[in-house]
Symmetry: C2
Subunit: 466 residues, 2 copies
């Protein structure tokens, strides 16, 4: 009847089913402008539903303008409704992702060991934060982030890196990626250069490229960015990782730090300091941030992704005061603010020093893993390799004699169950670092490191022979 | 001794105090390039600390390149360190915010009643989500969002609005603002027009303006966007609120919906449908989304900010398939993904239908408050006013005879304890709606509504007289 089959087993109400059916017929032109709809009594009987149900369906059609009713006259189909189906060959074809080969040796970088995260303590901090949260924190509280978290971060920066930061200069972000996205907006001007380390984290650089910057690569050596090659003809912000250069691992020496700051001052621009993993230094203290030397010239980006876990999505930025007003506006129009729960839980985690204890514990474990990696490399490759950079972080850059690592090598390794990135992958100017690989080890158990390096050696032998 | 005062009551270690003090002297030039540092024995004695403490401080200076040591020779200050203080008059001046006047009648829009949110049930959902969460969700899980949440949203869209959406077409965002920010990026091309309702939510439009669109205002009447004024000479995406026009409140009639879709098809562009509060309709069912009529042409934005609470920062977008690949990339480079906890808790909230019950409860309460608002307006303003739009949402647009509401009125009201927005504030072309005010009522208790309207009347009288 009326081309309608009602299904009483659906989660969707009968009135809505009637409404949708009639609507679809109107849009398709089966019911034409001016056509009368059946009386509610008639349709209710035909469909074995209550008259009220049909009344409500008609009401929906009338309110949304599909049908018109005039007193005493039958409800009729409104004008101008026909909408043919659009041919769209692109739609509807969604390819299944190819089955990825099994990974037997996983040297991906930037990955903390999630199994060792103190889940139970975190849950308790979270619960405490949830139950103690005042109702107004459920509303909008502004783009800067929870005050108590910013105060705890300031205190952490003081006790771990010895820098005095006012909580009012700290801005919480949804992780370091968002921080860079916002910084990229903040510093943008037309035809603006962005000076970046080469090699660098190539994913992060995409943010600048997408924004429209002309990215200028500045070479890196074992100590970090080669400041003597900075050129005043290409002025602009400089994006650096001075505490532990990604990917090569150097700690930027003091004289280059001062040179960098002088450069920024001379061209009136800023330094973007990405401190992605300096908490994990295995000999000595974490390096002191550039920020401490020139707070008015440095935008400092910190993150909790490596120390706690990536899905936390909390980072922070220390913003020079003359940029803070613009930062607030930018964040407001980007996504307003972080949710409050993780922020309050993290504040509690910092306040109770659970955070500090977790870092101390993980530093020991990562240090051991790093040593196991170095030992395994020695066992498998003899004298044919050299490590780069400082004893820090969750990955190691390794140079191998007489090797050329490129995208083909990476893909081939992947097919052989090894996930590993050549340093070349992160190079803007190709050909300078083709004999180096990046080995992420933070997330690997000792046995996985050993078997992984063994597997890598077998694969490299085979790749050389073929 | 050596200009150093160690403070044993600080949270910062003695070795770091020594390191910082010497570093600062080097940067200031008090200690010059080539100057020898005191022997560790000598300094340890002078400062009454262990020799090991001084050793560690020197080690930090050496590793970071502030000092150089050669075997048998004293440790010396490195070259090229002097860094004068930069004069920066803008820095350091941070003004205290002006004391805001007390708000006695708060008609701000888009504000749910946070006191009525079922905190305890939410906490339990959160705790369940926390304790049941597999460890791999602590790592990166991709830009689309938690599958179980997307499935629950699909099921909710089916039972509440009768639309069938594949969970694979739903993308979780950090709220509707971020959704619009991403959409703005997604659809951008140079010299691109963006067609928007006028009036519209002026804050949301900022996102398009900041991105670089040429924003084209399209007039709105009591039913919504006037599609007959759309002009093919200015093709581009159209940003609309068809379920409950913001701010005027119309539900877009079916014939205009089809016209809108025909327009988008004819110029090969998209419709951005912002469904910010359609869950709250007080007579009849929520309006059916435009999306249901042309899934290949409509980008649908949904949010939980109004139904649950703004700080949740979860929204979602239904993305046409041919745009999904680009969406994934965009989100990845913007902030990667949402944190998993809120997503899992919300999925649980939806699964158990706590969500549906909360909406039912709030719909009743908001409906009562709306009626109280209408009654109070009648009591205070007699025949001199008319409500606009459909009985829906958390605010009401009201036209007052013979009034002109502008920014001056708003500021003056604010000084008199009344927070209220003229519709003109949200107009791109000024002068069409100067006799209308927006009254947000969702968050107000009946008594606050009554006393607020009374206060508004008194203020308007006084404003008219002066």
């Amino acid at each position: 009847m009326w081309g309608m089959n009602l299904n009483r087993n659906l989660d969707i109400s009968l009135k809505r089913q009637i409404y949708q059916n009639l609507r679809d017929q109107m849009l398709a032109g089966t019911l034409k402008a001016g056509d009368p709809l059946p009386s509610t009594r008639e349709l209710a009987k035909a469909l074995s539903v209550s008259r009220n149900t049909v009344n409500e369906a008609y009401e929906m059609l009338i309110v949304e303008g599909y049908a018109e009713s005039r007193q005493g006259a039958p409800t009729r189909v409104a004008e101008g409704l026909i909408l043919n189906r659009e041919r769209n060959d692109a739609a509807g074809t969604r390819r299944e992702p190819e089955a990825a080969p099994l990974i037997l040796a996983d040297f991906k970088t930037g990955q903390p060991d999630l199994r060792l995260f103190p889940r139970y303590v975190w849950q308790r901090a979270f619960q405490k934060a949830l139950s103690g949260m005042p109702a107004d924190l459920l509303g909008y509280t502004g783009p800067q982030g929870l005050l108590e978290l910013r105060q705890e971060i300031a205190s952490w920066l003081m006790r771990s890196k010895g820098i005095a930061v006012d909580a009012g200069d700290i801005f919480i972000t949804a992780g370091a990626t968002q921080a860079l996205h916002l910084v990229s907006d903040l510093l943008y001007a037309e035809h603006q250069f962005m000076l970046v380390e080469d090699p660098c984290n190539i994913e992060m650089i995409q943010t600048f490229i997408r924004k429209g910057y002309t990215v200028v690569p500045v070479p890196v050596d074992a100590q970090g960015i080669r400041t003597e090659t900075l050129c005043k003809g290409q002025p602009g912000p400089v994006y650096v990782t001075p505490s532990h250069q990604f990917p090569l691992g150097g700690i930027l020496p003091a004289s280059r730090r001062t040179a960098l700051i002088r450069f920024a001052r001379s061209c009136g621009s800023y330094i973007v300091e990405d401190d992605y993993d300096s908490e994990f230094r295995y000999y000595g203290e974490p390096a002191s941030p550039l920020y401490a030397m020139a707070p008015e010239r440095v935008i400092y980006i910190g993150t909790f992704s490596k120390v706690l876990f990536p899905a936390l999505r909390i980072g922070y930025v220390i913003v020079p005061r003359e940029l803070q007003k613009r930062w607030r506006r930018l964040r407001t129009y980007t996504d307003v603010q972080n949710p409050p729960f993780e922020q309050a839980a993290l504040a509690e985690f910092l306040r109770t020093r659970t955070f500090d204890r977790h870092i101390t514990k993980m530093r020991k474990i990562y240090k051991q893993r790093r040593q196991i990696l170095l030992d395994s490399l020695g066992d498998c490759f003899g004298d044919g390799w050299r490590p780069w950079g400082d004893a820090a972080g969750l990955h190691l850059a390794v140079e191998f004699d007489g090797m050329v690592f490129n995208d083909a090598f990476r893909d081939d390794a992947r097919r052989n169950g090894i996930r590993i990135a050549p340093v070349e992958h992160h190079c803007l100017r190709k050909g300078e670092h083709h004999n180096k690989l990046l080995l992420g080890y933070g997330h690997l158990e000792p046995e996985d490191i050993r078997s992984g390096i063994y597997r890598l050696r077998e694969f490299m032998k085979q790749a050389k022979d073929s």
